[in-house]
Symmetry: C2
Subunit: 392 residues, 2 copies
């Protein structure tokens, strides 16, 4: 911890306010900007919707299309650094900006690998990173040749997000739901646990790894129920998980923040499910629960500060607050008052005016030393707090 | 903690997004807006300087003079609620807005008492709140009649702020420095400790009190050195401090956040020094160190949510980051990299472009269970981190 810096050098590093842009203005951008308030930085956001969650929290908002070359290039041109809050950005523009000396987090090279699910699986394979067996399919008819590969997950190569673009194919009858576009067919793993690990990489290739998070699913609905951090893992498994996550970011060869999602199977083997090259839902608890949050950490990387501490202040659980099925319209947070009366609960509402079924409207963080208390309050939040609207 | 709310009522409470304004756009407004990001609220700021620390963090910024009746009235007219980050606002406009149904935090009645140091002292006296003996002086020549009252502090009635408007008068020769304007002459207390207590009051007169903070002064320079929370107080003294702080806010008859600064004398008597009717420097550690920060708490009050928990997650110290003597110009944060390498340190830079001697440029929070560690790191921060500029 006790490194010595020459004062001249330090002064030089901090003598100009950096201009940093974010492509996308959703909740991830919003929470990034919340963390930026602690540092000397000039912030820029580009997003199509000028009423998006992050629009009013930056120094400069640009209405634009993050998937459009010209928009991204024009937005990034005068900046010192640029980051993303979603993968569906124009990578070609980022490559040109990078060539012109703008620092991109993650590097376009890493983003390209991750953005295409086919390339992502091939990347794991060619780097001996454990990941489930897979077959590339170009269209629906090709799927028919791989009946003996089921049960498997079919994942569309480009554009999947937040559960969209993934189909579980268990029987031949399910093949109908497969994608008629380039995709990967991934053999199902006999999953005991799903784990996520956030890793930060700075410009000098130093890494900082957060304690793994236990993603607890509702087996009935196949929906993420809540997350607990740190995950309850045997030490041997924890080591594997950390080693695999570090290997992924090492081979991606890019500074930034990465969320590596992993399966632990019934034999305690570890497989990478997928990686996000950005701040991630599985790291939201770090805002209150860890010394340096994932958002704080990305600013440290982009502004050239030392990596922060990933240690827990207290263990945490988070519950995602999704738009209740059947409601579309101006959001009402039913039960919010009751939830805000629980002393160890932290509310994060994302400021989206309209709710719709399954839309991410916020998240709730619970802090406690006791795992039972975390689970008890997570269930209470889930039963009490609903995002609805006046009209169905 | 486990209150039950009727769902209908809760839904109703949260079905419209409130419009809330802040008069003043300095660091207090900035940190208030940082906390507002967690809640559904539409934010407004008025301030003369459109490059002030809070200007880019609200939904609507208005350039205007917070001491001008017309500016304040026009700004507040369409809002649901209004708060302040400095006392020097136009109270008459707030009174008119209050009469028209806008909720003001604090109520103009409470603000009026506090804003005028003479009224403030008379308020303590008439409510039997312990505070040092005082004499009202209208001008400098009146001071001459009170030589036998020295040593005393002379405080200008209106417009003092952050140490300005206070003179310590120890000997007859010091009288020359007294104010030639309405002021109070306060008898000096034999101070053992200076303590600050933040208290929140909601719209139903419920109160929540934060653990008292120990304000440690540099005796050589008579400057606030650092603050430690919770303060090391004997239980009997703690009770007195809490009782006196609660009595102050009870008699002010206003919802909001209040910072009560107190002296504990060598005989463990407790005296109120002064009260601020707003979020306050002595509560900045609550951002990381307490479940609900003072900024979070004020939003809870203004948005009609239950009061949060004032409990510590971990004990904390804070160091104010002041502009180094002798430097005027674009701020450089010398030593910042070294400080950001300490794992239990949190940096808050206020985003002021220009530094000047003594200007509040940021603060640093340190969390630790160990008081020795808090003091060690506070001293390290003070010795390492300096706000300078390229040109003297």
């Amino acid at each position: 911890m006790d490194k010595v810096y020459h004062h001249n050098q330090t002064a030089q590093n901090n003598s100009t306010i950096k201009k940093v842009g974010i492509l996308g203005g959703g909740q991830l951008g919003r929470m990034l900007l919340q963390a930026a308030i602690n540092y000397p930085v000039e912030t820029f956001v580009m997003e199509k919707d000028e009423h998006c969650p992050a629009a009013h929290l930056c120094h400069h908002f640009t209405k634009g299309d993050i998937s459009n070359f010209d928009d991204v290039y024009a937005f990034g041109k005068g900046l010192d650094a640029l980051t993303i809050e979603i993968e569906s950005v124009n990578v070609e523009a980022l490559e040109k900006l990078e060539a012109e000396g703008i620092s991109i987090y993650p590097k376009p090279g890493a983003l390209k690998i991750i953005k295409d699910k086919i390339q992502q699986k091939q990347f794991y394979k060619s780097n001996q990173i454990p990941s489930s067996e897979f077959i590339v399919t170009q269209n629906k008819s090709e799927l028919q040749q791989h009946l003996n590969f089921l049960p498997a997950a079919h994942k569309i190569a480009m554009g999947g997000y937040d559960g969209r673009g993934v189909e579980l194919l268990k029987t031949n009858a399910d093949l109908e739901r497969g994608f008629d576009a380039p995709a990967v067919l991934e053999k199902l793993v006999a999953v005991k646990k799903e784990i996520a690990v956030i890793v930060a990489v700075d410009n000098n290739n130093n890494t900082a790894i957060y304690p793994p998070v236990d993603m607890v699913f509702d087996n009935m609905l196949n929906l993420l129920d809540y997350q607990v951090s740190p995950a309850g893992l045997a030490e041997k498994v924890l080591w594997k998980v950390e080693a695999v996550a570090l290997k992924v970011v090492k081979e991606l060869k890019s500074p930034g923040i990465f969320a590596v999602e992993l399966f632990v199977d019934i034999d305690d083997n570890v497989f990478v499910n997928e990686t996000a090259p950005r701040v991630h839902n599985s790291g939201h608890h770090t805002i209150e629960a860890n010394y340096s949050s994932q958002f704080d950490m990305l600013w440290r990387v982009m502004l050239g500060y030392p990596l922060g501490s990933t240690e827990h202040i207290l263990p945490a659980a988070i519950v995602n607050l999704l738009g209740e099925p059947g409601y579309n319209g101006e959001a009402i947070y039913e039960g919010l008052t009751e939830i805000m009366d629980i002393e160890n609960v932290f509310v994060h509402i994302y400021g989206k005016k309209e709710t719709k079924p399954g839309r991410k409207m916020g998240h709730i963080t619970i802090l406690s030393k006791e795992k039972q208390e975390l689970i008890h309050q997570a269930n209470r939040v889930k039963q009490t707090l609903k995002v609805i609207s006046a009209n169905k």
